[in-house]
Symmetry: D2
Subunit: 331 residues, 4 copies
């Protein structure tokens, strides 16, 4: 039984706590949050000792691994401390909003041979996993084009937006990682952003809608479409187009009921709204991957370098949007 | 150029007139209707001489073929006269509502070697034609089950119902022919009817909803579902299930637009409402088949025997509904 | 924490054991199977004490409830004993293959006020549950027609068929219960069976394919299509057609990936093959329903009377198939 | 009856000839092609006098209108001559590959008040027409994103590529016009091209795959995906995403048959391969629009300015691809 510490008792922390409780070979040993009542709440539901003291995790040699689900600005310090304490780490994305800090973090931990995994959960979604395996297996021949549609049901509140690092670092980063999941490295990035949804996003200096075009190292073309709002749910689609055909991952509904009536036919329900519903299986599979890697001494993937690479692409997209130029990325 | 006479200037007569005008090797020479103004209207649109006198068609040796689209009670007499006059005939379904009259008609014409085709237009629908070819070609292995869904958008008016011969002879007859199109002969028929829609249908001694189960000569099972009303259009589906798979013919919409919104996703338009829209191509292909048969001296299909066989099945369904017994049919 | 005993350590017993282990308020206390090694295997996975002695369950006053997942011939005796021992019971379908034994069982337990639930798991499938709620809620107006397609991926082996009670009592019984789930009582039954798949099924005096037509007490028409074999997976669909529209429950695939290539477009995976995959959620929800009923003193549904009623319909279908007559059922 | 002259007896000329023959109020009077045998062939099929002499059209005052379906380099001269001769013109896209020549042409004809229509046939496709009407009608609220997928079944031969003006002016120009159809003016263009398919395309200095991102004058974002090859047919899709929902135009198949088998389920046929099949209705509706404008003295749309504007966008895309910069377009 692997004993886990959890930093962060918010929404995403709760997801990880539930996964830890459900996995047959892990247990939630300690939950940390500066807001101790939040830690207590999660511990009551999923087990473990609640604490407001980070050392209760870092200093406990009986804790094998840590999940970092605290606010982004705390990631680097915790990640470093955990690695130094010899614990395996699953760190939520992004590692940090500032590439320099990410690089400094790497300098601090690179000699430690630490087990570090970055929480790009979508790589573990059964639909995307299957699709990538089939692409890699050659089912559509050489991959030529990858189209990613990614729209959130509703924009985050103003307070969140202000500290989010901007659309590309906060939201698109998942899609940029998805692009790398299929393409490997990306060498060129173009982006256009727009403010179409909420004035407070523009006021924060951020955009709420964007399109990104990229070129993969193998010559593939890639497009990403983002919106902070989607009237019909959480719109998460991927289309891989190759020399011999296409694989498409459509949206998902809670049941397979469809309605036909005078107003229209074959109507499905709105798509699963909440990312925790849409990716519930992915979060569990993500943890399972880490567990297997720890048990078998393997290196988990996506790792630190993947976390960094997605941030590099997010920075490139930000720069392209501002300058109107295609940004080359050194892979 | 084949010269056609047309009996009947009603809704279905107009469809045939349009097909005759559009076909490159036919022309509408004479349109007959006792209501002469109706004949004039069609002639104005699609050419030909309007007339109220049937002999203008029957007695004109320059007329090669006749389409009988007049009311059902007139079919037998016209069909016999046309065959005797040496004209090819496309007679709308049913040949007659009374099997004895149909058989008497056959006695009268069987020695004439006449070219007679019965208007089961659905056999010429590209979707059903393709499906049957693929079934016949072995794509799903041995055919085991055939499911036919056939629902009209709205019930016919009371006056029509009264003289329709009942649901099975009027509406189901198309589905019974579709069953024969896929199965060849049918040997057992069960039916249950119900009155769920309009009281005037029950008052006319007819049903407005029905399910029919049948066994084909090759052992296949077949189900038909009928309704005189369908809120979402003209519901016309066929499912052929075999040892190796299934072919399904779904409904069709005018365009491929789908809508996703807060109330539901992937909503298509209501299905094509009117049988003349849904089967527009079929009517043209039906005529084309007759033309090719006439030009090449072939026997058109479906022929008189098919018209009779569908009526036999309609009678069997009616009897089964009344007696609660499975009715055996001698093929 | 409700403590459960489990009779039967076979395939379906294992499903229930897993549900018991996963439910936060139940535990598997004792697993019984005459083949003790099977009981040991399940206990090792999901907890509880394995035993070959039924009294270890029946005689233990600390056991609150029992799941009967043993072979059908043992159901009545166990159900009776459990009820007499004051335990709540979830009994797998069918209660028995012989209506007289079912009725005798009822005579024995009817005075005990026992909590008895029958395992028609499909009522708890989220898709069918949602569909029924929407029908009941009036979304499609008066329900007029119910179409149920139910095909197994592959026929059971000869030994199973021989003691199955026949297609209608073994397999169709789920669909007959589904019909009752939507229609309430059924008053007329017609059936045609066929042998199209495996000679050993015919040799056992059973059919492998069937169509059933029924009339509900409210006048609705219902059709069931069954096959013991389906090349493309476990084909489980329901279509509810009403005055104002239609709700359809389509098949389900493991992921939402679709393929387009030279051989065809929009190809989904074969449908979930195994009933335990297709109905995994349903089995868990079924248990949860029993737990809630026990906790709150409610009567679970479907109950003993539902188990009996489905068997009555299966007997009626068998009789109709043999006599060729519509069989009336006294509701 | 409007009398038409046709320049160009190639593949697209034949489509227009067929439309002219089928339209009830037009006739094909003269067919011109320097290869006279081609003109003869079309005249034999669809009527009219074949000729190798352009003046047989330009000099005949009885000819009301002209369709220019000859090679692109001849368009400007013919268009100018026709306008000067007082004939209405439907000119195939592009007007010319060189914007300066297009502008010079406009100088020559702008004072003539000529009726000039440019052949962006897709605007007349029933699916896209309906979709735009619904967007314009407010069904999805403010339009925020427009995604256009446009892939040809197979690349044109080397000889064609060499004189095509490049992917953007030859193929994307249709999609650029589609963007303008939905967005009105476009103000920013980004493009990335790639050579993934045929070496001879790269050798001709052209690309065979591309992604284009644009910003509309109203702030909307737009993406276009192009490929010269598509294994599963002619891939023509549009997705309009707005504040209140999304309208999608999917691909179309010849029939509605779908197959389910051991290798996959719900497989549709490959999409209609040939643009003449996919857009057959659009070509007829395009002609009908011109006819109605001529009869009622209206200005047809898309007109000369639309033909120019799409070329401006194609030039901008070409420039962006070469410079890596976002190109601003003056609307």
């Amino acid at each position: 039984m692997l004993r886990f510490g959890l930093f962060g008792a918010g929404r995403i922390g709760r997801v990880h706590a539930a996964s830890l409780a459900a996995h047959p070979r892990t247990e939630l040993a300690v939950v940390h949050d500066p807001v101790e009542v939040a830690a207590h709440e999660i511990a009551a539901l999923y087990g473990g000792t609640p604490t407001g003291d980070a050392d209760a995790i870092l200093g406990d040699p009986g804790i094998d691994a840590v999940i970092i689900a605290s606010p982004t600005p705390t990631h680097v310090e915790l990640l470093t401390a955990c690695a130094q304490a010899g614990k395996a780490v699953l760190c939520e994305k992004p590692i940090d909003l500032d590439l320099a800090r990410v690089d400094a973090c790497w300098e601090d931990i690179k000699g430690l041979n630490a087990t570090v995994m970055v929480g790009f959960n979508r790589r573990f979604d059964p639909t995307f996993t299957e699709m990538r395996e089939r692409v890699t297996g050659g089912e559509i021949g050489r991959l030529e084009q990858l189209l990613i549609t990614s729209r959130d049901p509703a924009p985050a509140p103003a307070a969140y937006i202000a500290s989010s690092g901007g659309l590309f670092r906060d939201m698109t980063i998942h899609d940029l990682d998805m692009a790398r999941f299929f393409l490997g490295e990306v060498v060129e990035v173009q982006a256009i952003g727009a403010n179409l949804i909420e004035p407070y996003i523009a006021e924060a200096g951020d955009v709420d809608s964007a399109v990104v075009s990229m070129r993969g190292a193998g010559g593939e073309l890639c497009q990403i479409t983002n919106s902070r709002r989607c009237a019909f749910g959480y719109d998460q689609r991927v289309e891989a187009f190759g020399a011999d055909g296409m694989l498409s991952a459509g949206n998902q509904t809670a049941t397979s009921v469809r309605r036909s009536g005078a107003a229209g036919t074959e109507t499905a329900a709105p798509y699963l709204h909440f990312f925790l519903d849409r990716y519930a299986t992915a979060y569990r599979a993500e943890l399972d991957h880490l567990v297997i890697c720890m048990e078998q001494g393997l290196t988990p993937s996506p790792g630190f370098a993947d976390g960094r690479a997605a941030l590099v692409l997010a920075d490139a997209a930000t720069e392209s949007m501002k300058t109107g130029r295609t940004v080359r990325v050194d892979s």
